[in-house]
Symmetry: C2
């Protein structure tokens, strides 16, 4: 019996030793490349985690919601990049954060949004710094670096323009190290060429911001880039392990569950950790090795080879053999504690109000709260 | 411009008119069958919703977590069935809820859990009422109604045994009305035959509890059943519509999003509602009509034929034509508000702290809070 038996289930565990190692590894890599890190808050959404990730960095963060921005500001973090295209309706909330002391930068990729920013500046007398989002890989949003639209948007923004940003989300499809290195170069080149075009057109555009967890780890030359953004890197997950970005033993978060029943004929352990505890994310389903809803570990964190969390209802998890065959369940009686390593750190962590900290595989007694939700005004 | 433009995005909308209709429909059906409803809290997790669903029912609820149990008790609801197999470690929390006035019943399907209940009774001097979970469809948990295990468990429980419960989760695979009616009969028969065996063995076993949203709607004879459990029925969702349990226009929840960008070459509207706003649930992927991450409506709630939320990143949604072809995006400029009807009400609602209420397609000004999380002690 370990101290872990005193924790409720399901609950979210954060192995601080692994998190510290994960941060040290990426920070060291980027230091060698001469580029600072602007940690992305979207994965951890927790001030102690973010403060640790900032200890050897300039101090700016990336956020995916205004809720994260407000929570960071409440925690004394003022330099904030809100890295989701700004909706015109959110400008008043951004301005309110500025009034509270935030140095907040927004992103956009359309003439309409640029015009809304310009109108806001004209109406309020205060501008909001902007990065133009560049499409480096066809993944999602952004303007093409060679497009006329880039210069059209820049002309509308004028002095509020601060540079460019891009996110090579397609790096999640890059299996080989070579492919990830190539994607990192493509991400850098798209951002740099867009910045160069802006500068040639007379804009200062000092900021060249790039990043995804896979490209951040595999970039071998970030010349011209001024900052790298990454969030999943702090915790890592099975999707990253499947991509070769980390090892399974690097993954810092797991879900503590309890066995609540057996279905011997089917070879199923039933646990109290279902999809509400793991999320519905099945990110490894599209990878070479489908990990179901997660890998199963004993309470000490040792992976139990051949087992998988193969199914999930709302508050029921099904653990079975990877090959689906019946097996002897008697080693895991009702009441047994197990841990599940999730597919996707961001999605699983979002199901919880906070993290129970572990060090040396034991609870430290600390509980680090998360800030969930979307808007500035949400609690 | 409607009042909906004043709400933040993404946010969760609850159409009270539809919810009221959904409840009236199932309550009326069950009244005709002579069986009361024990609403399942797991979908709504909100006291005003649950109180409404109890207005014409005896007053007991079903919960999937001890957090729901504690929140119901805080709200004055004492008769609680905790319908996930009890872990021995949770008995102390259940006893604490009893001490605060809860009349809480737990379920189990193993000798080990029954022994833990008996030991708890002996150690504390107070028993906890128990229903034995019956496997009516091979879906998940429970003991076979004809098994020796049923009587073995009952003998351990003694006077703490109150009856049986079952959940025909396989009803989610029943497409035709005939199949759903047959599954409802199968669910009833499994529970009834188990209860009869217990009574023949000398146990009182007064409670025969069944339910799933599909079987609750399609049951045509519930003779011998003492209560029906259902939760999704209050809101309905695309999975239920795909099963023919409701119409799309019955679905009471939707997610309000804002268009934040265009990718014309791909035919993509980019919105600020990603998988954090909708959940990763892709429950319709296994149905005849895959609805992606959800159906798209205008801000008034009218379904926009041919559009689909086809992709999702954490805080980005992709809306495209169902056939994937490019189209004219100009009717939906940056800043346009849209609504997305989700696959799975339970999963989507769990991403939010509460509901903005609508009536007659307009906000009422009310915000109904949810209680998320798992344990008694979580906030």
């Amino acid at each position: 019996m370990t101290d872990l038996d005193a924790l409720p289930t399901p609950s979210l565990l954060l192995d601080r030793d692994r998190f510290v190692e994960n941060h040290a590894r990426l920070a060291s890599h980027l230091r060698q490349l001469g580029v600072p890190l602007r940690p992305h808050v979207k994965t951890a959404k927790s001030l102690p985690v973010i403060r640790y990730a900032l200890r050897d960095q300039p101090g700016g963060v990336t956020v995916s919601t205004l809720r994260e921005a407000a929570a960071c500001l409440d925690g004394g973090i003022r330099d904030i990049l809100y890295a989701v295209g700004i909706a015109p309706q959110k400008l008043a909330d951004v301005a309110a954060l500025q009034a509270r002391g935030a140095e907040i930068t927004v992103i956009l990729d359309s003439v309409e949004a640029a015009q809304a920013l310009r109108a806001h500046h004209a109406a309020t007398g205060r501008g909001i710094p902007v990065l133009v989002e560049i499409d480096s890989d066809g993944h999602r949003a952004g303007v093409a670096p060679e497009s006329a639209l880039l210069l059209e948007i820049a002309a509308i923004l004028g002095a509020d323009l601060r540079g460019v940003m891009t996110h090579a989300g397609e790096s999640y499809q890059c299996v080989t190290a070579e492919a990830k290195r190539a994607m990192a170069a493509q991400e850098r080149d798209a951002a740099l060429s867009a910045a160069m075009r802006l500068r040639l057109a007379g804009h200062a555009a000092p900021v060249v911001s790039v990043g995804s967890t896979p490209t951040a780890h595999f970039a071998d030359d970030l010349g011209g880039v001024t900052e790298v953004r990454a969030g999943v890197y702090m915790f890592q997950d099975l999707v990253m392990a499947g991509l070769g970005v980390c090892a399974v033993d690097d993954i810092a978060i797991s879900v503590l569950v309890t066995v609540i029943g057996h279905q011997p004929a089917k070879g199923w352990l039933i646990t109290d950790g279902g999809w509400m505890a793991l999320s519905r994310d099945r990110g490894t389903a599209a990878q070479a090795l489908d990990q179901g809803y997660g890998l199963v570990c004993d309470v000490e964190g040792q992976v139990l080879d051949g087992l998988l969390m193969s199914g999930a209802n709302q508050e029921h998890g099904i653990i079975s053999r990877r090959d689906g065959q019946p097996w002897d369940l008697s080693a895991f009686p009702v009441g047994t504690r197990l841990r599940v390593i999730p597919n996707h750190a961001c999605a699983t962590a979002a199901q919880y109000g906070g993290y129970f900290l572990l060090s040396n595989h034991r609870p430290t007694g600390e509980y680090w709260e998360r800030f969930n939700g979307f808007g500035v005004h949400e609690s």
